[in-house]
């Protein structure tokens, strides 16, 4: 065999290996989803969605968990959306190239890499202890808001940056002030992108358990919260709790709850992808 035959052989071999690796990723994903669906799908029914937690696996439901998740989603959006968009707009539109802004940028990149459990420690000390919110929905939402803020800021900046200069020029030339231009032109034009970012950020928040455990959201909560100051549980924590039980039936419950959580996560991601595609199709500058 000549050298060049060997090279060709290696090339082919790698191709096969490449296909194998790529598909192993996908196969694992599939095995994974199928395993969970097979284990959990039959457990999902109306009662499962509307029952309170119970010591008997067959009677336990996820009402408190998904209502808690919904609460957290709404509160987190209310807190993180305005803050993140405002910060993103500031950095992109107003931030001049000075030390402070440079520092803010590096800092945001850094925050994006801080492990979520550290945010939990921050929330525990600041919101739970200092602000005395306890293990409440509000403390949880505040903690998660800080966690997803960097994601929202970065995507807002990208969306705002994508609005062409000519639109801003057009607005300035008509006598609009900077803020009028941002409010009337830049934000509407970049809204799709911003929304995409926020939904992606929320899909991250919806799956977080660690920071919420640290701030103390693990009580057996047999009621649905009715105000931001109530104790709560969320789907990932309920899943964690059930997963750590040895009895089969609770693992089935966990699998069923996972299906619900995955549906929510994939739904959010799907909406984000849909919005992004629509945005890309609609706006051709």
């Amino acid at each position: 065999m000549t050298n060049s035959d060997i090279n060709r052989l290696k090339d082919k071999a790698f191709q096969v290996f490449g296909i194998f690796c790529t598909f192993i990723g996908l196969v694992v994903l599939a095995v994974f989803l199928i395993d969970i669906i097979v284990e959990g799908i039959t457990r999902i029914d109306w009662d499962f969605l509307t029952n309170l937690p119970s010591r008997r696996a067959s009677r336990a439901g996820i009402l408190t968990a998904w209502v808690g998740t919904l609460w957290i989603l709404v509160l987190t959006t209310l807190i993180a959306f305005p803050l993140g968009v405002a910060a993103g707009v500031y950095l992109e539109e107003y931030g001049r190239k000075n030390r402070l802004n440079n520092f803010i940028e590096i800092n945001i990149a850094n925050l994006a890499g801080v492990p979520s459990i550290i945010y939990g420690l921050l929330g525990l000390e600041i919101f739970v202890r200092q602000m005395n919110l306890g293990g409440s929905l509000l403390a949880g939402a505040l903690t998660l808001s800080l966690l997803i803020l960097p994601i929202i800021i970065v995507t807002t900046r990208e969306a705002v940056k994508a609005v062409p200069r000519s639109v801003r020029d057009g607005s300035y030339a008509l006598g609009a002030s900077k803020w009028q231009t941002i409010w009337n032109q830049v934000l509407p034009a970049s809204f799709g992108g911003i929304l995409t970012g926020i939904i992606l950020a929320l899909s991250r928040a919806v799956g977080e358990a660690a920071p919420l455990i640290v701030i103390g959201a693990l009580a057996y909560v047999p009621f649905t919260p009715s105000s931001p100051f109530d104790e709560f549980t969320v789907l990932p924590i309920q899943i964690f709790n059930w997963t750590s039980r040895p009895q089969e039936e609770f693992l089935t419950n966990a699998a069923a709850a996972i299906i619900v959580l995955l549906v929510i996560t994939f739904l959010l991601n799907g909406i984000a992808v849909y919005l992004r595609n629509r945005q890309q199709k609609k706006v051709k500058w």
Partner: protein, 291 residues
């Protein structure tokens, strides 16, 4: 009207500055609690002792067992994700049809969007029992299956970011390589991968940082026993699991237990902070400048 413009700008500025406050808050919270911890426990003891039993009567405060557990699971995860991720990146870039890449890449990215409790469930209920059929001595909680599953989770971080890095290498280099009679394999690993190396290294560092900070998978599947070992078959404990473990009980403010989670937290923070900054630095310094 000018005044209102100023006020708005001020408000926006404030929102941006809040991000600095968050960092300051993190550092302050971690430092203030761990400083009082280090008044009780010397830093030398913390860093060199080889046992971690702060909750027991005979208290030992050596962080090494937790660090070892963290590094062990991380190493396993990277050992899984790096070869797979890099191979996928090269394959998608050089071998796969454009259409296939368009479909496969986002599908793989789905792996990164799955909540980590779900991976923990998977590790504990599927991967561990499966591995036990191969390795009968494998404990139910172990670093191996947590690490493998964590590796699967971070595959897309490495494959997507590396693929981006490789595809931003200019066409002209690829053509030069083909023009000399290189095979696709030679082009990929002889030219493209080295040329994209800084981007690839950055992706790997970010993946490591992610694995170091990952919590739920290890909390569910790796065990809760601080143990200074590199044996992947027995229960261990990571820094993150320790924090969760203590948080699950009662942590009265001011107690030593309360402070230990901040001491553990600052250790974790230092690790990830160093890794993240290393990645920025590499990105800045070594980013190949092609025009």
């Amino acid at each position: 009207m000018r005044v209102s413009e100023k006020i708005i700008e001020g408000l926006l500025w404030l929102s941006a500055v809040i991000t600095i406050l968050i960092t300051a808050g993190i550092i302050w919270v971690l430092l203030s609690e761990s400083i009082s911890f280090f008044q009780v426990v010397s830093l030398a003891e913390f860093l060199t002792e080889d046992e971690w039993t702060p909750l027991f009567a005979e208290k030992e405060f050596g962080i090494l067992p937790l660090v070892a557990g963290t590094l062990l699971t991380t190493a396993i995860a990277i050992a899984v994700a790096l070869p797979l991720g890099l191979t996928i990146a090269v394959y998608l870039n050089e071998y796969a049809h454009a259409r296939m890449k368009q479909i496969v890449k986002p599908m793989l990215e789905v792996l990164a969007t799955i909540p980590t409790v779900v991976y923990g469930f998977f590790a504990l209920t599927v991967v561990t029992p499966f591995l036990q059929t191969l390795i009968p001595s494998l404990a139910g909680f172990n670093a191996l299956s947590a690490g493998i599953v964590m590796g699967i989770m971070i595959i897309p971080m490495i494959s997507s970011l590396s693929e981006d890095a490789i595809s931003s290498v200019p066409r002209s280099l690829r053509e030069a390589a083909y023009g000399m009679g290189s095979t696709r394999l030679q082009t990929s690993f002889g030219v493209m991968v080295p040329a994209a190396s800084s981007g690839i290294v950055v992706s790997v560092i970010l993946a490591i940082s992610r694995a170091v900070g990952e919590t739920m998978i290890v909390a569910i599947a790796a065990g809760q026993q601080p143990r200074l070992t590199l044996n992947p078959l027995v229960p261990i404990e990571t820094i993150t699991t320790y924090i969760v473990q203590v948080s699950l009980g009662d942590v009265p403010q001011g107690s030593l237990e309360y402070k230990t989670i901040f001491a553990a937290g600052i250790t974790l923070f230092v690790f990830t902070f160093a890794l993240n900054n290393l990645s920025f630095w590499i990105k800045k310094k070594y980013q190949e400048k092609y025009d």
